[in-house]
Structure formats: C-alpha cells, structure tokens
C-alpha cells in the first residue's frame, strides 16, 4: 500500500485561517455573555467583583485571539512552524496571563476569587459553547445558522505544498 504525505516543513496553509475565525466567534460570544457575568460578579462581590470579572473575561478573550493569531500567522509560513508556535505560544500566553493577574493582585478594585473563577469558567464555558456550534456545523453543513458564522471557509482552506517535495511511504 502506498500513501503520500506533504512535507510539513515546506507545506503551508493558504486561505482564511479557521483558528482566527473560531477565535473571533469565541470573542463575539464572550462579549455577549459579558453583561451577565459582570452582573453576577457585582451581585456576589460588589463593584470589585464586577471589575475583576470584566478583567478576567478580557484576559480569556485576548488569550483566544492571541493564540489564533499566532497559529494563523505561523500556518501561512509552514506547518512545522505552526506546531512550534502552538507549543511556545502556550508557554508565552501562560506567562502573560500570570503577569496580567499578578500585576493587579494588590489593586483596590481587584478581587482574586471572582477573577480566578472567571478565568476558568468563562474559558471552559465559551469553549463548550463554540464546540457545540462547530460540531453541529461539521455534522450538518446545511444547517449553519448564518453567513457570518459560516465555517465553509474552513473547508476551502487548503494546504499548498510543493509536489516535488512529496514523499512516498511504502
């Protein structure tokens, strides 16, 4: 049996980045739920809770956007660079989140409990929400809600590879 595979070092993704589309969708959903979460923070912890929840939500959304931007940028160069940017991006973004939280830990308006809860809950909540939409669009392409949430671009995104670099595996 013979199968061919493109070389990850020389192959790159062309077209709109699916990761950026997913991240923008996550950010849009984050903006949608922000009033509810900030209201909950204000109800349980007061003004400092509301401010901390808003700050935490901003961190989560920016983290998604930064991750997608790095992946999208690297995928246009090569798949191997995309893998590297995913790994080192994880470390860099974890450090940035730590710096963002440690910078405001002594601020008068900051409350670490709602901030921490927001980081975990909004991160996972937005992901589950997005995952349901993405899995539905993949399973039922005809039932996509609207053109603005169209993921057909993910199908048109293709790999450009130099066929002369294609290797054959026996």
């Amino acid at each position: 049996m013979t199968s061919t595979a493109a070389n990850p070092l020389t192959s790159s993704m062309q077209g709109p980045s699916p990761a950026v589309q997913v991240a923008k969708d996550l950010a849009r959903r984050g903006v949608l739920v922000a009033p509810v979460l900030v209201g909950l923070g204000a109800a349980f912890w007061g003004i400092s809770g509301a401010a901390s929840v808003a700050y935490g939500l901003a961190i989560v959304v920016l983290n998604f956007l930064l991750a997608a931007a790095m992946l999208g940028w690297a995928a246009r160069i090569s798949l191997a660079l995309m893998a590297a940017s995913a790994l080192f991006g994880f470390l860099i973004r974890l450090g940035l989140i730590a710096v963002a939280v440690l910078l405001i830990r002594d601020a008068s308006w900051a409350d670490l409990v709602p901030l921490g809860l927001t980081l975990v809950i909004s991160h996972l909540g937005l992901l589950f929400w997005e995952m349901r939409f993405v899995s539905a669009s993949l399973a039922f392409p005809g039932l996509k809600p609207s053109p603005s949430q169209d993921f057909s671009a993910t199908v048109t995104a293709t790999i450009s590879n130099d066929l002369s670099e294609t290797k054959e595996y026996q």
């Binding site: 192959s11 990761a19 994880f90 989140i97 980081l119 991160h123 993949l138 993921f151 993910t154 293709t158």
Partner: protein, 91 residues
C-alpha cells in the same frame, strides 16, 4: 523566664514562617506540575494534527479548527492550575 518566653516566641514565629514557605512552594509546584501535563498534551495534539494535515491536505481546515479547540481545552488544565496557585498563594 524571659529567655524561655523569647525562645518560645521565636520558635512559634519560625513554625509559622516554615508553614508559609511550605504553602508557597507547594502552590508553585502545583502550578508547575499543572503546566507540564498540558504541555505534553498540546505537543502530542499538534503533532498528530500536522501529520493529519500533511497526509490529507483537503481536510486541513477542519483539522485546524478541531486542533485549535483541542489546544484551548488542554490549556484549560494549566489555567485551572494557575487559578489554584493564586488562590492558595494570595487569598
């Protein structure tokens, strides 16, 4: 008598300090260990995704979408570790 009282006070202070130090190092270790697992997971996930894209270029978009969500889910573990760290250390 005063020497004994002073010694007792110093011992108590040292015990409290040792407890604080142990809590700080425990929190830091929890954060570090919580970051190792997702690091391994993301490496494995991305490696498999790149292999899938190289073998089946026509499905690269779908694979990258799933890969991005997988990375974000895996990263949540590290985020939980970080939140536990700040709650143990500063609250």
């Amino acid at each position: 008598m005063s020497t004994l009282a002073q010694l007792a006070a110093e011992t108590a202070y040292t015990a409290a300090e040792a407890k604080n130090n142990a809590a700080a190092s425990g929190a830091g270790m929890a954060y570090g260990l919580a970051a190792i697992g997702p690091g391994i997971g993301i490496g494995y996930l991305v490696g498999q995704a790149v292999q899938a894209m190289a073998r089946q270029p026509e499905s690269a978009g779908t694979v990258q979408t799933t890969m991005f969500l997988g990375i974000a889910f895996t990263e949540a573990l590290a985020l939980i570790g970080f939140v536990v760290f700040i709650l143990l250390k500063f609250v």
